[in-house]
Amino acid sequence: MRPPDLPDFKHPPVSEVVLGVQFSNPAGYTQIRAGEVWGLFKGSYPQVEEYMPLAPVFETFGPQAPTMRTQLSFVDGTLHDRYWFLSEERDELIQFQQDRLLHNWRKVGDGNNEYPRFEPMYQRFKDELTALERYLASLEAQTLQINQCEISYINHIFVGQVSSVKLSDWLNFVNFGNINPEGVNLSFRETITNSMGEPSARLICELNEVMRSDGDKAIALSLTVRGAPKTASIDSALQFLADGRSVIVKRFAELTTSEAHKIWGRK
Amino acid sequence: MRLRGQTLPLSEPPRDAKGQLVPHDHQDILNDDGLIRRIPIHWVVPDEKSPTGRRLSSEAFEMSSAEMGGGMSLDIEKLIVETGKDVAAHVTPHPWVGAVRVTAGLLRGYALQVGYSPQLDNPYHAEAWGTLSKKTSKKIRLASTWVVEIEGCSLEA
């Protein structure tokens, strides 16, 4: 159920949404069984592609800013490919590797496929997580031990002649004055705290120029909330994603201008 | 059947319906019996307070995770002796560089169970089960003695 106080837009500039969880390697699972996992979703996701796996990532908090994301490059011989299970239209996909499950929706082709909104995506991801957990429990008595969750919204806030765009028309936190930068790459992080003032997640905001699949350039504003759920369960992970979505939508409204909101049809 | 003075074999330890060993306190492991803990080089750490500049990590006296049985592995000294083997040589083939000794009574004094847990490749294997606080772990370390000493590594600090 959408929280009633959440900013809402008729035509949000969202280009991609990702819901994801990371979990400890399940007992009894090896890569040879990836085909069985695909079998859980093949009806709706009949296409498959293979990619390099994603390294584990954890949000931690302390006095030092986590500017370093040194990835362990050591290959221990047990890396599992990352599989994409794609829908027929290729606008929705499940990403799977032995310690990850993600669900992506994205604009494809001419970009006219409508964003299905969070609630249906949430429900689909819940069903997919439940199906995966049930399958893994058939290998050995276990539940998914989820240790990180991530929700991302990638917004193409301006499409077209990006060299001519005045970012301060769209974004509240950027003003180059008379400077016309050739390219913009900006990122910042914010610690999200709970009601007791303790860190509970991290918001990562990135602004950069991207090349879209239709060949146009765009200014992309990506907002990601990442962190550990309260417990390792699916329910707790889903709650994290729902809370993360609220943070992202509110921040998006705060970071963008009222003129931009009119164009996107803020309700 | 055991001959007089013969310890081996110890009586079979208790197992559950699936044949898995159950944590227990074994009556044939007496309080005075020595228990050997193998020390790999990875458990030697620098410590400015140590008289030698190095000491044993607290990890040397820690329990394994629940999924690994939750116990602390040891070798039963008297079983090794009874088979005619040299204890020091038996517990420290490369890469295990050192070994320390405690008594079963010392561990039981800290409310730990000491049980018999023979393995296919180690018929002398024992385990200790229970909760080890930091203070208790430190006391056990300080009460242990070297069987095979690691040069420059203190048990104190």
Partner: protein
């Protein structure tokens, strides 16, 4: 190529980390505990990689090598508490495939046992304090940094002269 947001956006701002690195300084003799500036990251990465390559049974019994997820979590933990003024940690493998991170100085000790990601048992001891707190931490390690500040090296010779 169709774009698709990947989980785990790699942080591309590595120049910040490179700018903080200083040439390694030679270790001073034991007992002369000055505040040492160093780059801890290289040593920690080498050590973690080493522990991931340990064979099963490395302890003489049934110990597992360090798992990838525990290695990355340990690194994430250190990245938010360490700076160049903190003493270098010792990283010790546990039999369950994780690590204990330890600091032992003249002034005290800090030990962190990583059970699994988001589950760390922490212990602190300092010459100035009688209490030895033991706490369970998840992903907030502010207190660890404060502990390290209490035990980090000072000029022992000056302290002794003042005594």
């Amino acid at each position: 190529m169709e774009s698709c947001a990947a989980f785990s956006s790699f942080d591309t701002t590595t120049t910040g980390a490179a700018a903080r690195r200083m040439p390694g300084l030679e270790r001073l003799p034991l007992k002369t505990a000055f505040v040492i500036q160093h780059d801890w990251t290289e040593e920690v990465l080498v050590r973690l990689s080493e522990l991931m390559q340990l064979p099963v049974g490395w302890d003489g019994y049934r110990a597992k090598p360090l798992s990838r997820e525990n290695a990355v979590f340990a690194l994430s933990l250190l990245s938010v508490v360490m700076d160049q003024s903190k003493p270098l940690p010792s990283i010790v493998p546990t039999v369950s495939g994780s690590v204990r991170i330890e600091w032992h100085t003249l002034r005290g000790d800090v030990e962190l046992r990583v059970n699994r990601p988001n589950s760390v048992h922490a212990w602190f001891s300092c010459v100035d304090e009688e209490e030895e707190p033991e706490v369970d931490l998840t992903f907030d390690f502010k207190i660890v940094s404060a502990w390290l500040d209490e035990i980090k090296g000072t000029n022992v010779a000056i302290e002794r002269a003042a005594a």
